[in-house]
Amino acid sequence: MTIKYLAQDQLAAFLAHLAERARVVAPISEDGVVLFRNWEPGRQVDLEVLLAKQAPKEFMFPQTEEYLKFSYRMDTPVVDESAPPAGASDDGQVEAALPHEVIEVQAENAAPAQIIFGLRPCDARGFVQMDQVFGGYGGFYFDPLYNAKREATTLLAVTCRDPRSTCFCTAIGGCPAGHEGVDALFTQVDGGFTVEPLTEKGEAATDFAALRDASEGEAAEAAEVKVQATTRVDVPFEIDGVRDNLKANFEGTSWQDLCLRCISCGTCTYVCPSCYCFSVNDSLVETKGERYRVWDNCFNPTYTLETSGHNPREKKVNRFRNRFSHKFWYYQDKYDSLLCSGCGRCIMHCPTRIDIREVLRVMGAPAGVPEAAGAASNSAELPATDGKEA
């Protein structure tokens, strides 16, 4: 496909054009905090800060998503005398009875057309990875909630011109100008963007009068930007063998050392472009209620807590181990895909800067090596190799 060009001063007009037919989401700075928010004419898109605080996953997989509505009739039901009495429980407690005559159950799934502009190739790759679990891959269930939004969404990614020291997309098969999941790739060059539509959706979204064919010089500059960016992404660990080593190191003592400073919050999972776990809750007010799902995370101590009081991952170290094992072992076994796109948000936003690269260097290495090196929480961590000399 031909490479097009959009001048910087035409960006607002382009987004306004898109906004006429779909919701447009873009990274927007509020008090210096960059988050993906609805874009409206007049709002400034912030592409200078490389990564918005959170990946844009909430637009495909909202943090709170009501998917079922139901209502009860208040009539008194006909009770068979021979049945055990409802409400009076065995331990003698009297409980408030619910009205049980359900009259309506309706599935909810809103999926208006939307366009996410300004996400990075790693963010888009996060969606591709999530597609496996939500998409019925391997004969598992197909999630209509996620997929309806996924299909109604166009991803217009922007090449990472200046990767951060915490980026490691190339280490796990990605690229600062990656195409995976991207409908059209924008690359910042002098005075504007080169635009490469990669899919039909991308073609449709970039069908705009102010887009002209890129000159050879512009195309060459974009190509150079991509090469430069790619070479500047650090490769902090070797991905080959990580899965097998995580499996072999499952009982490794270094997990304990690595998780010492973890506070067991959910920040890493909520900023992550590919973490997808959720909880399901019901709410009922008088006769009307809904069932909704809401993000949950494996660091939540109640996540696996069973009614009996038993908790398979009771300790912080169990929960900590689960996150990394899930991303690089379990998910791979089940869906033939990693569950990490190397954006580094979990490193940047972790309150105690737990470093996924360090975890993989230690636990993703052949068993025995990290222990031999002293195991101590600290000595295992290598300083970032690039960056300072750049």
């Binding site: 200078e48 020291s165 010492l260 800067r353 929480s377």
Partner: protein, 321 residues
């Protein structure tokens, strides 16, 4: 000896004499602009400990129940003045075993607000050093800029009256020069917010709390908030706090946290720093402490022999009608 060397020496002695099983201090993370909690269990490893203007982490968090899995270990810990108040708050409730604790007070002259510096650059910060009141910041692209430290202090440091620990077994170096602890606290930030009209405050609070993602970082990092799997904020039945993540529910969620730590929270600022979406929680906990001071002239965690004000009462309290 520099304070950093003092800390290392105290840690080395404590570890080699068996006074502690491990020692919690600070160390550099993946680059020198990031400082993280360090857990040292060998005397030979103490040289990784650092003390600089980025040592903001309140390490007393790691003394909480269920935080780490060695319940009977003897622990050495570094505390700044503000951190020591959370430690004292825990001691007032008998939640830490003083017999197992070795506390190193670290006098502090105010720390740098990394997030405030981040706002000065679109690029990533990879190095921060300070000397003579000047902060030098280097970015990933290699740009270096200087800032006056006084303008980039953590908000909590600006009005700090507890530069020295209120409780410590040993002190790393000479005490910091401290203004009068008994002077009236300063609440300029809260007063500025109070001065807004009701409508303005309402709109701002909604906007601020709409961004909350309920990651529980503020709660888990809080040294005096220790219920874990019993947290009322996670209760589904009864659903005491709405499990849906929306602006109103989020404010209730945060208020529940605040009111549960009322009288024990000394506004150490750990929650503000931990929040990944930078919600200024100080708006709530500083206001709460302002009112507590006004009601009781009480400062949480200031004195070992005091009780948190909401766990006791006086018959002559003059509240209500």
């Amino acid at each position: 000896m520099s304070r950093q060397d003092e800390i290392r020496e105290l840690a080395r002695v404590a570890l080699s004499t068996g006074r502690v099983d491990y020692f919690i201090g600070w160390r550099e993370a993946y680059n020198p602009s990031e400082v993280v909690p360090a857990f040292v269990d060998e005397p030979d490893s103490v040289d990784q400990l650092v003390w600089n203007d980025l040592c903001a982490h309140n390490l007393t968090t790691f003394l909480k129940r269920k935080m780490n899995d060695r319940p009977n270990a003897k622990v050495g810990i570094c505390v700044k003045g503000c951190d020591s108040r959370t430690l004292v708050a825990l001691m007032q409730e008998n939640l830490v075993d003083r017999e197992r604790l070795y506390v190193v007070g670290v006098p502090c002259d105010g720390l740098v607000d990394r997030r405030k510096l981040e706002k000065e650059f679109s690029d990533e910060i990879i190095d921060i050093t300070t000397s003579n009141g000047t902060v030098s910041v280097t970015t990933h692209q290699g740009l270096t800029r200087d800032f006056p430290k006084a303008d980039y202090l953590l908000a909590a440091c600006g009005w700090c009256r507890y530069k020295n620990a209120v409780y410590a077994d040993d002190v790393a170096g000479p005490p910091a020069e401290e203004a009068d602890r008994h002077a009236k606290p300063v609440w300029t930030d809260v007063e500025a917010f109070e001065a807004l009209s009701d409508g303005e405050r309402d709109a701002m609070l909604e906007e601020i709390f709409a961004t909350c993602i309920r990651c529980f970082a503020c709660i888990n990092v809080c040294p005096v908030c220790y219920c874990w799997d019993q947290c009322v904020n996670r209760s589904r039945r009864p659903e005491l706090v709405s499990q849906k993540v929306d602006a109103k529910g989020n404010l209730v969620f945060q208020m529940v946290h605040m009111l549960h730590v009322a009288g024990r929270c000394p506004s150490c600022g750990a929650c503000d720093r931990a929040c990944p979406v930078e919600i200024p929680l100080s708006l709530l906990h500083r206001k709460m402490n302002k009112e507590i001071y006004d009601m009781f002239e009480f400062e949480p965690g200031a004195k070992l022999d005091e009780m948190p004000v909401f766990q006791c009462f006086k018959i002559e309290d003059a509240f209500g009608d």
